[in-house]
Symmetry: C2
Subunit: 331 residues, 2 copies
């Protein structure tokens, strides 16, 4: 198995990506790790090169602020585009990047290509939940608008991913909505509901955004706009509350003592709810495995992304999705 | 001034509504308070009847689970419908209900009637913010889908409400979106953006849902679906975090002591962020003043809703909106 890593993508690249790649190569000797990027810069952080690691040189890199489509079209020798090309040409089974999300989605679409039968690939991160299991949410940003049929494709892809990569036997699929009754929602969700009922998935109906963190489902399906609003609302509320807590805890020496007492438990909870800790997000519906790891990924996060990619490749995720989608379209 | 109160609506009705009505009547002797509902039940909680209070008997009531349109059509003598009729016939200047939200919106539309030039009235609650000022959000549930033109009407109505009722000199209007750049978003927000730029409002551009609690704007405009997702995501995150805090604080005698130390400050923060504390939500775009107070309203909340209604009536809110809307449509 060969997994390419965009060495230049992410806030801590190439240091974190190189170190993470070394950790991964050492852990899984059956996997070839391909570091794609500026060879000189990579080697500066490469104290040792495991035998199952190789470097593919790329002269350019896509910056976080680059306009995605323009960047992918023009920077043909960027680490991200070169890594995408390795997947396209079947020289790598997967590629992972912590770089510019928009550019990664564009690379997936323009370089790797869409899976046959899929209208729109979707970005599917895990939203952390109280019980630690998490909810796979898609689409979270690849496409702002969606059709009812696209939501059904998201549901099928998410279901297969949770089953194959996370071992969930019969993933519960929920439709993000404003109420639990079948007829609730906007035009999109009302049209998608009966289609989801007919699909080959375990559809459990509408799920409200206030119940997401309680893990009422394993996969939540939504258009990219609603998904983004949900995720960023949760993030904003959490960061507001945690900063209020901090203010409260630093008010006096007495509250500082109180803080010391509850800090270990609170930190544990905070980490559990930190979505950066929940691994890389697959781009589902692409004709190859592309994974987005968090921009702030450290070496361990990079290694964990490789772990996820390995499971997906070993279990033939892409082919499984493709089979189910073409199966559905023949109905 | 005459303000009608749906005595039968809300979790604590009629006790809380009657008591709140008495408080209001005593506080504002220039205002006639009209309690609408079952006279016997109202009188059971009426220990004293101020001279500026009267009761209008209504034999029926709309239940929380009633299907809105059906209930409003069939229960013609329900407290909510009768109160709506008082406004329609100009026998009351405003009416307040803590009852079934859907039924209240239906009453506003079918009984009181839409304002001329308004396509869709909008429900506009305040979302509490860290600084205590709050953000008026609309639409939050009256209409799931919206057109770009409707979003502009929401913006105009919200701007006038903030100005007239809250005294905000030049309300900052934000468009709920997934990024701050002008071209971000879905088809709806992309089409609405240039229209909002041209409207007679202080449009400050896109605002992300993660920044709402930081009070980046005074009014946030969105379709009812996105607004609901935002609000319920914030609520869900807050309730999840506060219940985790509770678990943490009750782990041992030591953490219980820590809890005692920070409790006053945390309760203060929690109350500040409790949207039930932020008064009633107007239904803007109706040809008369209709206000929704929170289902769990106690007597003080009912009185506070009357306070808001008084300010709106005194400052001619409905006519101001109507003038601006017809002004805009002549452009």
């Amino acid at each position: 198995m060969r997994i390419a890593i965009d060495a230049m993508g992410g806030d801590h690249a190439p240091e974190a990506t190189v170190q993470g790649a070394v950790l991964a190569a050492k852990e899984w000797s059956d996997t070839e790790i391909i570091l794609v990027g500026d060879e000189t810069k990579i080697k500066a952080f490469l104290t040792e090169q495991p035998p199952n690691m190789k470097i593919v040189h790329a002269t350019e890199m896509i910056e976080p602020d680059d306009e995605p489509v323009k960047a992918v079209r023009r920077k043909k020798d960027s680490s991200m585009v070169v890594a995408g090309r390795l997947v396209k040409q079947r020289e790598a089974d997967a590629f992972i990047s912590a770089g510019n999300t928009g550019a990664l989605m564009t690379t997936a679409l323009l370089i790797v290509g869409r899976m046959k039968g899929i209208e729109r690939p979707a970005l599917a991160p895990m939203i952390p939940t109280v019980d630690g299991a998490g909810v796979l949410a898609l689409d979270l940003g690849a496409n702002m608008d969606a059709t009812p049929e696209q939501l059904v494709q998201y549901a099928i892809m998410g279901s297969i991913y949770r089953n194959i990569v996370h071992g969930v036997a019969k993933p519960r699929i929920g439709l993000l909505n404003v109420g639990t009754e079948a007829m609730k929602g906007n035009e999109l969700t009302k049209a998608a509901y009966p289609l989801l009922e007919q699909a080959h998935i375990h559809f459990i109906g509408n799920v409200e955004s206030r119940d997401i963190l309680q893990a009422k489902c394993d996969v939540i399906v939504c258009d990219g706009f609603a998904g983004n609003i949900m995720l960023k609302s949760i993030e904003g509320a959490a960061s507001t509350i945690f900063s209020a807590l901090k203010t409260e805890f630093t008010k006096s020496w007495l509250t500082k003592i109180a803080a010391l007492i509850v800090k270990p438990g609170l930190s544990q909870f905070k980490n559990k709810m930190d979505y950066a800790e929940h691994g890389a997000a697959p781009l589902l519906g692409v004709d190859g495995l592309v994974m987005k790891s968090h921009g702030s990924s450290n070496a361990v996060a990079v290694k964990n992304a490789v772990r996820q990619a390995r499971i997906a490749v070993q279990n033939d995720l892409v082919r499984s999705i493709s089979a189910e989608i073409s199966n559905g379209s023949e109905m």
